[in-house]
């Protein structure tokens, strides 16, 4: 209990919130990394998944990429990029490693969502004379939206969690508070930092769940 109350003291002392190593700055870095990487991964994964899903090809590819992604430790990729020539360009190793890990869930969920669209509806749309792109944008994507958004949610939460690991390799973000705590042998700071990161991850998860609840019926899907 003593550690917990010291951690609370650490969290509530104003000095720990300001400055370059302060909580606000680290939170900003964490948010920046998460948002940039989520946007980049969506830009890369979603068009590919939607087109593959529309054509009905490459399913094995989408699923296998996801499985391989799980087997490769983020930390290893981050350090490998850091030691390669890319390592000399600021936060690029972190961003690349994070994008690599956000792409698989996005790809798989979007592909599975596209393939799950009722084929009768697709045939009906074709019968009405819709072109391929019309079918994709006006029929398939809206119907696949719940699963696509689930993929975005999984990717976002995974990014928040993985951005922490960047700190192990000297990057920014909330993980820095934890690693700094380890270096100072200050258990209260480690626990306080961990609580902050956990709270941030849970808030992101909750925001997505609430957004999904509030969204119109057709975007939610029947499964809820």
């Amino acid at each position: 209990m003593n550690t917990l109350s010291s951690a609370w003291d650490w969290l509530t002392s104003a000095a720990n919130w300001s400055g370059a190593n302060g909580i606000w700055n680290r939170l900003g870095e964490h948010l920046f990394l998460t948002v940039v990487c989520l946007a980049l991964s969506c830009l890369i994964a979603l068009p590919v998944a939607l087109v593959l899903g529309h054509l009905g090809k490459g399913g094995a590819l989408a699923v296998n990429i996801s499985n391989v992604g799980r087997a490769v430790p983020t930390f290893a990729v981050l350090v490998l990029l850091l030691l390669s020539p890319i390592g000399s360009y600021g936060s690029w190793p972190t961003i690349i490693a994070l994008v690599l890990f956000a792409v698989p869930p996005l790809l798989t969920n979007a592909y599975v969502g596209m393939r799950g669209v009722d084929q009768d509806v697709v045939r009906a749309a074709r019968g009405m004379g819709m072109t391929g792109s019309q079918m994709l944008l006006r029929v398939e994507v809206p119907l696949a939206l719940p699963l696509i958004l689930t993929g975005v949610r999984i990717a976002a939460v995974q990014l928040v969690a993985t951005a922490t690991i960047a700190a192990l390799a000297g990057g920014g973000g909330l993980g820095r508070i934890i690693t700094a705590g380890f270096n100072l042998a200050s258990t209260p700071q480690v626990v306080a930092g961990a609580a902050l990161v956990a709270a941030f991850a849970l808030i992101v998860e909750t925001l997505f769940v609430v957004a999904q609840r509030l969204s119109p019926e057709w975007a939610r899907g029947t499964a809820g």
């Binding site: 550690t3 087997a71 490769v72 922490t164 690991i165």
Partner: protein, 226 residues
């Protein structure tokens, strides 16, 4: 004065046979620690997950809290999880194992529960009609039929655990992660690459091994898959 040896270690190359031959003991120790941490964590995870899943299946009111709690645990980032457990376990291997157990619980409970729920009602009624009691029904009918789904969860949990062990390097118990961490600090390229590749190899081999075990345990599904 003798000239420094001009081998791949001195040149700090990514791929280096010298590294493999001179540091084979360190590598072996790291691999063993990696395997040990994963194995213990996944075994404890399975032992805990089965009663949770069975309880959630039997009593409907238990399903919500069990799934909710395990999902929340899964959302907590790994570095944070290891750190939050620090006051409880201190800097020890149990800290890493405890963190990994909490992660594998989500995947295992979900999949075992899905497997149990997929057992057809007629099958259960037939077993009851043959005089099976609730325990025998669970052990001889429900759990075996839930095995394919449970094994799928076990495979994902194991592969994830193998890659998560590396984060344990923050407390000094990360198996191959330790080598990656120290290699990063000293810019030792061969060590980082070798340890990373070994991690992936372990994950792939473990996955294939579990797939093989699944095939051996569920001979009745083989005809359908072929």
């Amino acid at each position: 004065m003798t000239a420094p040896p001009d081998d791949c270690l001195a040149r700090n190359e990514w791929i280096c046979g010298e590294y493999l031959s001179t540091r084979s003991e360190i590598l072996l120790d790291a691999v063993l620690q990696h395997l040990q941490l994963t194995l213990v964590a996944v075994l404890i995870g399975v032992v805990l997950a089965v009663p949770f899943a069975v309880a959630a299946r039997r009593w409907n009111w238990a399903a919500g809290p069990v799934l909710g709690l395990t999902t929340i645990l899964y959302t907590v980032p790994s570095l944070a999880m290891f750190s939050l457990l620090l006051p409880v376990y201190g800097l020890s291997a149990s800290l890493v194992v405890a963190g990994l157990v909490l992660y594998s619980l989500t995947l295992l409970v979900r999949n075992i529960l899905a497997g149990l729920r997929a057992v057809p009602e007629e099958t259960r009624q037939a077993a009851r009609g043959m005089g099976y009691g609730p325990i025998r029904l669970l052990l001889a009918v429900e759990l075996p039929l839930a095995l394919p789904a449970a094994m799928a969860g076990l495979r994902i949990a194991t592969v994830s655990a193998i890659s998560l062990v590396t984060i344990g390097a923050i407390v000094g118990f990360g198996g191959l992660g330790n080598l990656i961490y120290s290699g990063m600090n000293t810019y030792f390229k061969a060590q980082v690459l070798t340890a990373s590749v070994l991690c992936v190899i372990i994950a792939v081999v473990a996955d294939l091994l579990l797939l093989l075990i699944q095939r051996l345990l569920t001979p009745w599904t083989r005809g359908q898959n072929a």
